[in-house]
Amino acid sequence: MAVTAVEVVYRGIFQKSLSRNICRTIVLAARKEGKIGTAFGRYGDSPERNGIPAKYFAIVADDPTELEETLAAYEPKEVAVTIVVDDTLCKGVESWAWYGLQPINELTVEGGTVLVTSIQPEEDLVKDMHVKDVPYNLSIIKGAKSFSGLWVYKDDHTDVRILGALAKVCPNLVGLEAYVDTIAEQSDDELKAHSARRAYDRVSVSPVEPGQGNPEEPFSFDKPGWTKMGEAIVIPGIEVGGGFRGGEGGYQPVRNDVFKKFSTRTMRPVINFETCTKCTLCWLQCPDSCFDVTPEGLYDSDMESCCGCGVCEDVCPVPDCVTMVNEEVFDDNSSQHDHWKRDRDGYMKWLDEMIVVAKSEKEVGAGRSHGFREWGEYQKQIEMTGVAGDD
């Protein structure tokens, strides 16, 4: 008698098909072992938005009554495995429907596993994840994150590799052979079973002790509750902003302080304040109004509200003035303008390093993965680099 739940934490829309494939295949494979299960996306994440963290669940039980009992709950309160398909989610997730930031390992049970696709070293991921007071395991499937979109799926074997690794870290959910049989039924590509087996053999597993990780308290807010809500559902508006950092010059908007959106970000803009021509375009075209206007007419991106869309990089007419850099290299949301004002030489040196990081990423494989760019591009990328983790 047992019920086992796993969750996939993913980037909304970009990894929706990937997560659905993983959870559906878990349930289909469970049937082969005489078990029963269900796979579903979290209700509160719908309507899903590009990049905003979302969840898919798979629940497997020995018999239908047990499964029904579990489904009476809105969603699982604890999971044996938290599958993380983008490693920048390890910093915590602020999903669509919740106030505040949730640690990535919040639902992971004692002795359970956080399974991440990543090319980062283990210690960097542990540093990102919030501390837990019970021990758990961190498993890494080596590979870059797989992003696509709503209509065109990037079939780079990420789904089957995760299933193979899952059989290793959670054998009581579904065993490897059941996955391999199900994968063979779903696709003519014989290499997929091979990819699953290889991930089973290669996935790393290491313990994370209580107290290890990011000690910060994730931000949270008081939910008003229905007794405190205004008549006719009146939501307090935002105040109009004022001068930059409370001063006379420039402008800084007041922002929604209960939904910050930064955990949506997989890259952030870094700005060269010395080559900036003050053309205004990054500020004017930013859908999230995240640029503060400094008294000297420069634009400082507020890292609590930037969701990393990259429009600012695209509209900026000056080469390397706005550069999108992988979020994994940053540790906080501090102001770049403050840094530059405090220590110009230090900032410019840091900026050069960041630009090198961004450029080297573009050169690896066929560029950074942030959704669909052109017909046939995914096939070309897979031909160039092989399927994920192929070496």
């Binding site: 938005r49 590009n50 669509w96 209509w151 922002r255 004017l284 859908p287 959704g371 669909f372």
Partner: protein
């Protein structure tokens, strides 16, 4: 008579107002062009503005879970009632001003709807609102070419052939959305000759966009703006290209930028240069190939799409605006 606003035209990006009245912290997609439309709309209209919003992405993403990015007053209205809400609010303010209950001053009323709420469900209410000349308001339809909020179903504004939840391409039938996009702005202009301002717009051209909002608010009576909004979720592209795709649609002649001011039609920006023969249209494939929603297209589909755009520019009575021909199938003008 309620007064209309007298906001000056914005001359160049450096003269854009600094203040934001739609700020950060909305639950939209990365690179959401419609969120930019909201931001520029109220940046242009200023603090003395009331915004009314029909159900759609810009309602759900901006006011759920007891928080909001709106600085100006905002009210939700039902999916098909952008027009009714605009007239009702304008009439209410007018009555309060007539009774000296509030100061008689220009208050901008902007009612927005998506293409589902505007081109489909709300069309009759918008049409009715555009016949009430005594009430000042602006209706803005932000068109992301699908019911985007509920995960991309076909609307009357979806383009021919695009993939969607309701039109997935299959092995037997590749093109499932056989309908051509509705031509909203001219339909409303021709049918409602009393309206003093009707325009098409795209937030990729921010200053032009903000000035169109200001013009719409300047004229007494109702006004209508149809905004073309690239949607990274439904069109399936890297969110950083929202701005570029808006421009590309204009440069390929797929989206035509114009305003009809007191009955006079003027094409703007690249659309004007294309009409005057001073600029070549880019091939539509440049636009199509960058979106996953058209990834199932074969050459034949691209050629058909191109031929419809060519016809619009070469054969219509008014290029991009009025698709009338004489009996011989020749253009009238």
């Amino acid at each position: 008579m309620t007064l209309t606003s007298t906001l000056p035209m914005i001359r160049g990006v450096h003269n854009s107002p600094l203040e934001e009245y739609f700020t950060s912290g909305h639950r939209t997609c990365q690179g959401c062009e419609s969120a930019l439309v909201m931001k520029l709309m109220v940046k242009a209209s200023g603090p003395r503005t009331i915004v009314l919003g029909s159900t759609g992405c810009m309602y759900v993403a901006n006011t759920t879970y007891y928080s909001t990015p709106w600085v100006v007053p905002w009210m939700h209205t039902q999916l098909g009632s952008a027009g009714s809400a605009a007239v009702g609010t304008a009439a209410g303010l007018k009555a309060l001003m007539n009774k000296n209950k509030i100061k008689d001053e220009p208050i901008n009323i902007i009612s927005f709807c998506g293409d589902g709420g505007g081109a489909d469900m709300g069309l009759s209410a918008i049409s009715a609102a555009l016949t009430h000349m005594a009430y000042n308001h602006l209706i803005l339809m932000y068109d992301n070419e699908s019911y985007a909020n509920t995960d991309i179903q076909v609307s009357g504004s979806s383009p021919w052939g695009a993939n969607s939840t309701f039109s997935p391409p299959g092995k037997l039938h590749r093109i499932m959305n056989q309908r051509w996009k509705k031509n909203m702005a001219p339909m409303l202009a021709v049918g409602h000759p009393g309206v003093k301002y009707i325009a098409t717009a795209c937030a990729s051209y921010a200053v032009d966009f903000m000035n169109k909002i200001r013009k719409g608010l300047k004229y007494s009576g109702p006004a209508f703006i149809h905004s073309y909004d690239p949607c990274p979720k439904g069109w399936d592209y890297d969110p950083m290209y929202s701005h570029e795709l808006g421009m590309l649609a204009v440069e390929a002649g797929i989206w035509v930028q114009y305003e009809i001011e007191e009955g006079k039609l003027v094409l703007n920006g690249p659309s004007r240069m294309i009409a005057q023969g001073r600029r070549q249209r880019k091939p539509v494939v440049e636009f199509l190939k960058r979106q996953g929603r058209f990834a199932h297209f074969v050459d034949e589909d691209v050629d058909y799409y191109q031929s419809r755009i060519d016809e619009m520019w070469e054969k219509w009575w008014l290029p991009g605006v009025i698709p009338l021909f004489n009996e011989a199938g020749e253009p009238k003008g």
